[in-house]
Subunit: 131 residues, 2 copies
């Protein structure tokens, strides 16, 4: 994940540091953040993200959006490495168009997968992210 987050804090000398980048981000700040494709089209928002219990590594963030009648497979796990932060859009950008997204690993809110190592490998494979 590539957060080019410009903090909005104003240093004491009065100069705005547009390119200042904090190294860490809070989990609850990621949740609820909007997600766009490279065309600036909004895809949905980050519902939550999955962390390896032992490794402490974020495997993927879950993009969610209202499906048809609020039903359907509207949860899409996306590898952390494939999410870039856009200061302009104030949200994450993932390089995938909506048509391609239809074939991506996804699940219904009511039917989450087992989230095992195999599932994580499948997600990485779809998005071309090496393990």
């Amino acid at each position: 994940m590539n957060h080019q987050t410009a903090t909005l804090e104003r240093p004491s000398d009065g100069e705005v540091e547009h390119d200042e980048t904090a190294a860490l981000i809070a989990s609850d700040k990621v949740e609820g953040t909007s997600v766009y494709n490279e065309g600036g089209e909004k895809l949905g928002q980050i519902e939550n993200f999955m962390v390896g219990k032992r490794s402490g590594r974020v495997e993927y963030a879950v993009l969610s959006f209202g499906g048809v009648l609020g039903l359907g497979k509207n949860h899409y796990p996306i590898p952390w490495d494939r999410l870039d932060y856009s200061v302009r859009l104030r949200g994450y950008v993932v390089d995938i168009d909506k048509d391609r997204l239809k074939d991506a690993p996804s699940y219904e809110s009511e039917r989450p997968p087992q989230f095992g190592a195999d599932y994580a490998v499948g997600v990485r494979s779809f998005y071309g992210v090496p393990y």
Copy 2:
């Protein structure tokens, strides 16, 4: 983080798998989970946790509790590796007593630190976790 989480799902053969361990945990499941010391004394709960934007690694979870009059330095970052999950307590256990915790890195809710790499190193150092 060592989650010995027994899932409560019942496999199709009817046998309950008490020791089944899912590899991943959802971010919003970690948030709000109680934290105990090794004596079973409740210290507080996980408020959120901090993730390296580029690395995708969880640096530490933030233990919070109501301070005196709800004020004071009541936010304690604890390295992910130092949190173990107790199925019995249904919460995380960290091997530190309350007296020792007083000397741990901490901050007020209203005055969060910069959360840079230096801060993360300080936290790891206090808890004896190698980088």
